[in-house]
């Protein structure tokens, strides 16, 4: 009798100790490498890379761009965000850490695609499809590094995907020239691979040209900036919509104004809106137009049709109304054709082509229902007019801070006494995680 039980126990132990009992596989994720192995998985990974782009362009990166400028104030209670307005950003600031991580996440996702598609032609993907996916991955990486560079200067250049712990760590920062070089290299790779098509939600050759125009503007290569701007400005698929607010009002997306915008719909919501809209519209209004901007936008001579960018809530407080849709499917605008007019205007002013500069400026002003600027031969005056125009044209897009930094006007305009604050500090958490990272000069760690 007892023997029966021991027999039972032995059977039991034998069956349960069988190690396959302890094998459980996840269902909502897949485990392992070689995940990108055909066209469908490569396309899905690309969509995942666009998600990363969209994520860092939703709140964090925008916080830096908006609040460091002089258009937007912060009404929330967290001082770490107020630091951008005060221009006393601490290395511990959690928004810069989130932005850093978010952008490198985008880099890593692009790297995964670039690695597999550039090294492996055994995947059975048609050549044109392969080029389309790979080209977009290069473009995503280029834009990501461009944004890193704009905030911090030169950064560690990571071009291989991270497969295991220990990889892609301990990489020191490259110089800003080296970073610019990688961006240009990626843009050129994308330019070569991508078709000359018009798609306002994904990268095409034309999108890359627009980014190159911006790239050369930052590099102060005025000729190239003009050349690449021209490619879009002469393209019939793009035009300035009249009046100004036609590019965003009435729930429109992907208008002829748009060169590149990040796509959202009712199921893919943009958290951006919640930051702007007042409580009565379900938002927090933590980002709000400041008094100076409200004054500029409500004064007909300076605001014109752009007064539609702001509105007042039931407590008479002004709020930004560029992102207003319900559900929150507002696009994030990355490049609009207006930017290319203003790039050409600025570059032309630098190359002494003042008539072209003023003409481009006035095109943008005209559709904002503003009076044209008179022709001028005063370069400084024209550049200032372009700067002012950009401030209002892109009042709620991620430009103002970077424009002032790029033109070295930030200290004057924003009253920043310490010049090192033009570059933000490398997040302290990153220096802790990777001691090889050098802090930007002037910061405590």
């Amino acid at each position: 009798m007892i023997r029966h039980y021991f027999l039972y126990i032995i059977v039991l132990l034998a069956s349960s100790s069988c190690s396959s009992f302890l094998e459980v596989d996840p269902k909502d994720s897949i485990s392992g490498e070689d995940v990108i192995h055909d066209q469908a998985s490569a396309q899905a990974a690309l969509n995942g890379a666009y998600v990363a782009l969209r994520d860092y362009y939703s709140v964090n990166f925008q916080s830096i761009a908006y609040l460091s400028g002089d258009n937007v104030e912060w009404t929330g209670s967290q001082s770490q965000i107020q630091e951008f307005i005060n221009h006393r950003v601490n290395p511990e600031n959690s928004t810069i850490a989130a932005t850093w991580n978010g952008i490198y996440q985008s880099v890593n996702r692009a790297n995964n695609i670039i690695k597999v598609l550039s090294e492996n032609d055994q995947l059975g993907i048609a050549e044109n499809e392969r080029a389309l996916i790979l080209g977009q991955a290069y473009a995503i990486r280029a834009l990501s590094y461009f944004d890193l560079l704009r905030v911090w200067g030169g950064v560690p250049l990571i071009t291989e995907p991270t497969a295991r712990v220990g990889e892609n760590a301990g990489v020191a920062r490259s110089s800003s020239d080296e970073t610019y070089a990688l961006i240009l290299q990626d843009l050129s790779a994308a330019e070569e691979l991508l078709p000359q098509a018009t798609n306002r939600f994904t990268f095409t050759k034309k999108t890359v040209w627009a980014l190159k125009a911006r790239f050369y503007l930052y590099r102060e290569d005025w000729t190239q900036a003009i050349a690449f701007a021209n490619r879009l400005l002469t393209d019939a698929d793009y035009e300035l919509l009249n009046p100004y607010y036609s590019f965003f009002k009435n729930n429109v997306t992907g208008t002829r104004e748009s060169v590149f915008e990040l796509y959202y719909n009712a199921n893919e919501l943009n958290p951006h809106r919640g930051q702007w809209q007042p409580q009565t519209n379900g938002g927090t209004r933590q980002w709000a137009p400041n008094a100076a901007l409200v004054s500029l936008l409500t004064t007909p001579a300076t605001g014109g049709a752009r007064s539609e960018l702001i509105a007042r809530d039931n407590q008479n407080r002004w709020y930004g109304n560029l992102y207003y849709r319900s559900p929150a499917s507002d696009p994030t605008y990355i490049v609009r054709i207006a930017e290319l007019y203003l790039i050409r205007a600025e570059a032309s002013a630098h190359t002494q082509n003042f008539d072209q500069a003023v003409a481009d400026l006035n095109k943008v002003r005209a559709r904002a229902l503003l009076t044209p600027k008179p022709t001028s031969q005063n370069q400084a005056e024209i550049l200032r007019a372009v700067e002012d125009e950009r401030r209002l044209e892109f009042a709620f897009e991620a430009h103002r801070w970077f424009d002032l930094v790029r033109t070295k006007r930030a200290q004057d305009v924003l009253g920043i006494s310490e010049s090192f604050r033009i570059l933000l500090p490398i997040p302290y958490s990153q220096i802790l995680a990777d001691p090889v990272l050098d802090q930007n000069p002037g910061y405590s760690f």
């Binding site: 039972y8 396309q43 991580n101 990489v171």
Partner: protein, 1011 residues
């Protein structure tokens, strides 16, 4: 071998049952007594003369035994003749051997004043309390089960030395933090293991809806009235048999069961009461608010906003109204309980059947908690050798939930507390409007619709086979099933639902099944050697699944289901892990004097990779009962004296993701342009494995002076290695973090439990019970400091305790300038983040409880105090409410802000009002870190037992009527409402008091009735 595994296993179980019943026919051998003589008698308590039911009476040298009935009567029919020698035994009484000459006989039993013979459940078996080696405390829940809280663990506060119960909130049924002998893990779970009648139950909230850093307690699904007693296993000797689950201690819950030979009884417990906040925040009036705002603007050279309306201002300060929102949000809450239990047993069957209903409103509208529960426990002897039984509990826990923590949307306390008092709830058109970015309180309370329903089944089925007098085999199959159904609907009158409604529905299901076999042997050899053996195994599988949907865009506020929403999205989540375990234990006692045991458990977890799956958890314990030694036997004042010590290792893998060791890519259903996408989500850590805690314990148990004074003293040292830690990866990898075994944490401390019977006579008795404990927690190894909580208020760093507060130390306010002066830690002449420092932690220097029980004739009086000394609390409410006038119309101002510096010479610790986020009003300012020590008058209870004359007339065997006050007073220097209040957003964020309703003071009347 995935699905087939369970079914194969099931077949084995059925096979086992078949074998059992095949043996049944062989085992049934009966002997019929020869009817010859009759013996009748009554057994009573020596002191009270009250009949005792259930006493086992055995004729010496005969196996036949009987039990007394509810009137203490027994009757024997036997072949023997007078005189008889009887052996009497009953739990709680000294066993007696008595010679009976007459029938009927009156037998008096003597109470064993200290319950040394009491049986204690230790890992998978039982031992007599006197022979315990491990550190185990047994708490009869009866004493505290009438405290109005949602879950029984909250009732245990102050009852067990070394068990820290942080209640966090006054909302009934919300999760609390229990720390047994400190905390051992940063990223795995620090909760003890809860075992209910042998079922390992889930103690982690299934809540997915964001309620501002609050979570519901799954332990609240259990009706405390059904619990007979709770045992708390603390040292490694006691917990090692729970291996990978034992590192944070084990709480064993034994529910009530019927007894064989006990007549049917009915217990009824009813109480009803009222609860109210002992105090609420003290806020500035509208006028004071306006004055402070004006002062702030003057200080920074801006025009004052509160000037005459004719001058374009908001009206003079004296013209401001004061709107009291707190009184609207808080209420006198009702607490009600009714439960009934029916139990008893025949010779072969014992049963316990109960049903309960508990409803508690929170003092903060509209939150409430209710629980309906049903229990059925059954034990059936099939024959002399085979016993089968089952425990079953089904409950439904319903909650109206409210966001009482942080976050602007739907926050009740944000609307009630953080909205400035001078602002009218109406706008110029007379319409209710939200202010300061928060919801309008009236609209919020009227339209709040967030709730959950938890359906829970916890049960098991066991079979026990007595192979021989020494060998016993037992097999159990247990299930813990929880369906958790949540919903929230925000209509368009609320911020979260603006502009056209938002609804979420989430249904989670957590299932754990456990199969367990044990084979035990216990034999006394040659009168002095006691040998015990145990071998066993368990298999466990846990699955969690969640389906949730969100809808936006409702036609009108009358349509609240997602099916009526214009847009909807849904998600699904799934998780599963398995554990296979084998364990064994040998214990040996010589003459009940020298005791030693050794145990080992091996656990394999599916969470880790092959080669790292198995963990081995050994423990050894020794004890020496000094009072059994000759040299102490003459000292009659010593009734028991025992020194014991143990060392062992336990593990932890709880709370980490089931697939934490793998490289994962996850799918994103709405990636880009409506197309699906995939993203690399996690990097692999092939070597990920168990967190291990080694624990040393040494203790002394003593019972003196006829057991009227007893105490237990313990010292322990715990050291955790390979601590599961989320380590930060450089962002350049594209990943934020990964899980690794790298932290090391130590806990050491002592515990003292003291029980005294101060007075004991016919009419009056007074007994006291005190426990006090100290735990010193320290992070021994942590590669990089880690911040948690809002404004990085919590810092974990090597050499400091977990949950330390990281703040600027405000030294004083300069009387000349009104500026706050902080300690310049690095002496560089400026105050930067480098000057933040650790100033205290949530750990008390010592904590415990003190209870006094008095009886006078039929009255009983209990007082129970709990205390905690030396812990800090960060009063985050004050951070918001003491910003001077700088937050203006965006936040409330606390009345304490009126103490601010105004002019040179003012001595105060509230600086000049000149803005927020500047020197005087820093994020992380130490001004708001307060001493959280408290002494709480937890319960005061007065009862009256109705006399037997009345009861007999009503055919009632017991009726007690009582009145009870809970949280009557709290003595504390803490300026907030409740030093235990804490927002509980993440496990590592503790001790930050923000937007949390306090534990209420409550009064209740109740009856305990036994039929």
């Amino acid at each position: 071998m995935k699905k087939t595994e369970l079914s194969k296993y099931g077949i084995l179980c059925i096979l086992f049952t078949c074998i059992l019943f095949a043996q049944l026919s062989l085992a049934q051998v009966e002997t019929k007594p020869i009817i010859n003589a009759t013996l009748q008698g009554v057994v009573v308590d020596e002191e009270t003369q009250q009949p005792i039911e259930g006493v086992t009476i055995q004729l010496e040298a005969v196996t036949h035994s009987v039990k007394t009935d509810e009137k203490g009567r027994f009757q024997f029919v036997t072949g023997q003749k007078l005189p008889f020698t009887l052996l009497l035994s009953y739990v709680g009484y000294e066993p007696q051997r008595i010679v009976i000459n007459t029938s009927p006989a009156l037998i008096k039993l003597k109470r064993s004043s200290e319950d040394l013979d009491e049986v204690v459940v230790v890992g998978y078996t039982t031992v007599e309390k006197k022979n315990l080696i491990g550190s185990i405390e047994k708490v009869p829940l009866k004493e505290v089960s009438s405290i109005p809280t949602g879950s029984f663990d909250a009732q245990l506060q102050g009852k067990v030395a070394g068990m820290q119960v942080a209640t966090n909130t006054g909302v009934p049924g919300e999760a609390l933090n229990i720390r047994l002998r400190g905390a051992t893990s940063i990223n795995a779970n620090n909760n003890p293991l809860y075992v209910i009648d042998g079922v390992f139950v889930n103690s982690e909230s299934l809540q997915t809806i964001n309620s501002g850093g609050k979570a519901t307690s799954p332990i609240a699904d259990l009706n405390p009235s059904d619990i007979e007693f709770v045992e708390v296993l603390k040292d490694a000797e006691a917990t090692a048999l729970y291996g990978s689950r034992g590192a944070n201690g084990v709480i064993l819950i034994t529910t009530k069961r019927g007894k064989n030979g006990q007549s049917t009884k009915v217990d009824v417990n009813l109480y009803s009461g009222r609860a109210k906040a002992a105090k609420l925040w003290d806020l500035t009036t509208g006028e004071e608010h306006a004055l402070l705002v004006n002062e702030y603007n003057r200080n920074i050279g801006r025009p004052e906003p509160f000037t005459a309306v004719t001058e374009g201002g908001r009206g003079l300060p004296s013209e401001q109204q004061t709107y009291d929102r707190l009184s609207e949000a808080f209420r006198t809450a009702g607490v009600h309980n009714a439960d009934i239990a029916l139990y008893g047993g025949s010779d072969n069957t014992a049963y316990y059947l109960s049903s309960g209903y508990n409803k508690q409103e929170s003092i903060l509208r509209p939150i409430s908690f209710d629980r309906s529960s049903f229990r059925f426990n059954l034990d059936q002897k099939v024959n002399d050798k085979i016993k089968v039984g089952s425990s079953n509990s089904i409950s439904r826990t319903g909650r109206n939930q409210g966001r009482a923590g942080d976050g602007p949307q739907g926050g009740i306390l944000q609307a009630a507390l953080h909205t400035p008092t001078y602002l009218s709830p109406y706008n110029e058109q007379g319409v209710l409007v939200g202010r300061a970015g928060f919801d309008n309180l009236t609209l919020l309370l009227d339209n709040y619709d967030v709730g959950s329903v938890s359906l829970r089944y916890i049960g098991n089925l066991y079979g026990e086979y007595q192979l021989s007098p020494s060998w016993r085999f037992r097999s159990t199959f247990s299930v813990d099933y929880n369906q958790y159904d949540e919903h929230e609907y925000w209509n368009n009158l609320l911020i979260a639902g603006s502009p056209d409604g938002l609804a979420t529905s989430a249904i989670g299901q957590a299932t754990t099944w456990i199969n367990e076999q044990t084979l035990t042997y216990r034999k006394k050899i040659a009168g002095v050697h006691t040998l015990g053996l145990l071998v066993g195994n368990t298999l466990q599988g846990s699955t969690f699944s969640l389906t949730s949907a969100t809808g936006r865009g409702f036609a009108t506020n009358d349509f609240t289901l997602i099916s009526a929403a214009a847009n909807s999205t849904s998600t699904q989540d799934w998780d599963k892990y398995k554990l296979a375990s084998f364990f064994g234990r040998v214990d040996y006692a010589f003459d009940d004097r020298y005791l030693i045991d050794f145990s080992l458990r091996a656990d394999g977890s599916s969470k880790f990779n092959k080669g790292y799956q198995w963990g081995y958890f050994p423990a050894v314990g020794v004890a020496w009962r000094l009072n059994k030694e000759g040299f102490l036997q003459d000292l009659s004042f010593i009734n028991d004296l025992k020194i014991r010590s143990s060392y062992g290792i336990t593990g932890n893998q709880n709370g980490i993701n089931s697939f934490a060791s793998r490289q994962l890519w996850s799918g994103v259903n709405t990636a880009y342009q409506g197309l699906p996408g995939i993203i690399p989500e996690q990097l692999a850590n092939q070597q990920l494995s168990w967190e291990k805690t080694a624990q040393f314990n040494i203790g002394l148990d003593a019972a003196l002076l006829k057991n009227r004074l007893s105490f237990a003293l313990n010292y322990y040292y715990k050291y955790t290695k390979d601590g599961l830690l989320t380590e930060v990866l450089p962002g350049t990898t594209g990943f934020g973090e990964y899980l690794n075994n790298s932290a090391e944490i130590s806990n050491k401390g002592f515990e003292l439990t003291l029980n005294t019977v101060n007075i004991q006579n016919q009419d009056f008795s007074w007994s006291t019970s005190l426990n006090v404990a100290r735990n010193v927690n320290n992070i021994e190894k942590l590669a990089k400091p880690m911040n948690f909580g809002s404004r990085d208020l919590i810092l974990f760093q090597e050499g400091s305790p977990m949950y330390s507060f990281w703040v600027y130390n405000q030294l004083y306010v300069d009387a000349a300038t009104g500026d706050a002066v902080y300690e310049d830690v690095n002496g560089d002449g400026q105050i930067t983040t480098d000057d933040r420092q650790i100033l205290g932690s949530i750990w008390p220097d010592y904590f415990g409880g003190l209870s006094n029980n008095f009886t006078y004739k039929r009255f009983d009086l209990q007082t129970f105090l709990t205390f905690s000394v030396g812990n800090e609390v960060y009063n985050h409410n004050r951070f918001f409410g003491e910003a001077g006038g700088a937050r203006d119309a965006a936040r409330i101002i606390f009345a304490s802000n009126l103490d601010r510096w105004q002019q040179p010479g003012d001595i105060t610790d509230v600086p000049r009002s000149d803005g927020v986020n500047n020197n005087n009003y820093k994020d992380g300012g130490g001004r708001w870190l307060e001493d959280g020590s408290y002494l709480r008058f937890r319960t005061l209870s007065l009862g009256y037992n109705v006399g037997s004359k009345v009861l007999d007339r009503l055919s009632i065997s017991r009726l007690r009527i009582y009145a009870q006050a809970t949280n009557l007073f709290t003595w504390t220097k803490y300026s907030g409402l409740d030093p235990e209040s804490a927002a509980n957003g993440s496990p590592n964020q503790q001790g930050i008091d923000l937007g949390t309703p306090p534990q209420p003071r409550s009064f209740q009347l109740g009856i305990n009735l036994t039929l």
